[in-house]
């Protein structure tokens, strides 16, 4: 594991991966959009409103996936003091927040015609809203300290404590009565969804995953550069105070 904690190695690896991840993201999102908006059939009950699913469901998966990634990176940072793990957790947060926000907005746009309401305070919707607040809290704490290391440590603890929300989201549709339908893709006995609908769903999910990797690389690079700038400035201040 420690082999990957080296920023120089990360930068080398990032350079190799970035063209592939951004290429895969662009291609699968383009194909996904084509299938989602044009080539897939309308639902026999929901009509064309079902097309919202192809962005809503992958966004929800990403919202939860990014949080798990952030919590794992945070745990690695707290336990092994990996400098890179902190950076990756910090880089993942805005992506996860964006997908969680999109999940809520597209869900609302789907809920209005299907359920007759933009919003309901039920278990699935509320726990997803809490996920968004956890992301926002994580980002706020991370930037609230003058010493970035202290901010990252406090934020990492929040990420781990908030991880309890993930199983609550996942099983909220089974534990409580809710407007939201139960899982139909990731379930025992295989997906209960037609292949013509599964194809755009999986293409969009793949595209979002590749998008996350590309953003992770870009933000990771920025964080590593910012860290080096801090070290140089620190050395300059140190040298200046010694010179006087």
């Amino acid at each position: 594991m420690h082999r990957f904690a080296n920023p120089a190695r990360f930068l080398r690896l990032a350079k190799v991966i970035l063209p592939y991840s951004s290429g895969i993201a662009a291609l699968s999102l383009a194909a996904g959009l084509w299938f989602a908006l044009a080539a897939s059939p309308a639902d026999y009950q929901q009509g064309d409103s079902v097309r919202i699913m192809y962005v809503h469901v992958p966004a929800a998966w990403m919202g939860m996936f990014c949080y798990v990634a952030m919590a794992v990176f945070s745990a690695m940072a707290l336990i092994w003091k990996h400098p890179l793990a902190d950076l990756l957790a910090k880089a993942t947060a805005p992506v996860g927040a964006a997908f969680t926000f999109l999940c809520l907005v597209t869900g609302s746009l789907w809920g209005k015609p299907m359920w007759g309401t933009w919003w309901a305070w039920d278990a699935r919707l509320t726990s997803m809203l809490i996920l968004l607040f956890l992301y926002l809290g994580y980002m706020a704490i991370n930037n609230a300290f003058d010493d970035p290391e202290r901010g990252q440590k406090a934020a990492a603890i929040l990420a781990l404590v908030g991880a309890v929300n993930i199983p609550v989201i996942k099983w909220s549709v089974d534990w409580w009565n809710t407007l939201h339908q139960p899982a139909s893709v990731i379930k025992m006995g295989g997906p209960a969804i037609d292949p013509t609908m599964l194809v755009p769903l999986l293409l969009m999910a793949l595209g979002f995953k590749a998008y996350w990797i590309s953003i992770l690389i870009l933000r990771g690079r920025a964080e590593i550069a910012a860290q080096k700038i801090r070290i140089i400035r620190m050395a300059q201040i140190h040298a200046a105070s010694r010179g006087e």
Partner: protein
């Protein structure tokens, strides 16, 4: 291939489907642009700092471990 108007109308759900996709594209594009600019800006600043350091070292090699910040002229 359907006509453009059926695609726009989405069987009466166009007012919900299109905003859902539009906002997704906008949000993801914003995050991408912000991340690209962040990486470019910070890496350019680092490059500049490192160039100054290299120039300083070349101009006045520091005697015995002293760090030279800027030349006296």
């Amino acid at each position: 291939m359907e006509s453009v108007s059926t695609l726009v109308q989405m069987g009466g759900y166009g007012g919900y489907v299109w905003p859902a996709y539009a906002i997704s594209v906008v949000v993801l594009a914003l995050v991408l642009v912000a991340s690209l600019q962040g990486a470019r800006k910070t890496e350019a600043e680092l490059e500049q700092l490192q160039a100054i350091r290299r120039a300083n070292r070349a101009a006045a090699p520091p005697p015995q471990g002293a760090v030279v910040l800027e030349s006296k002229e």
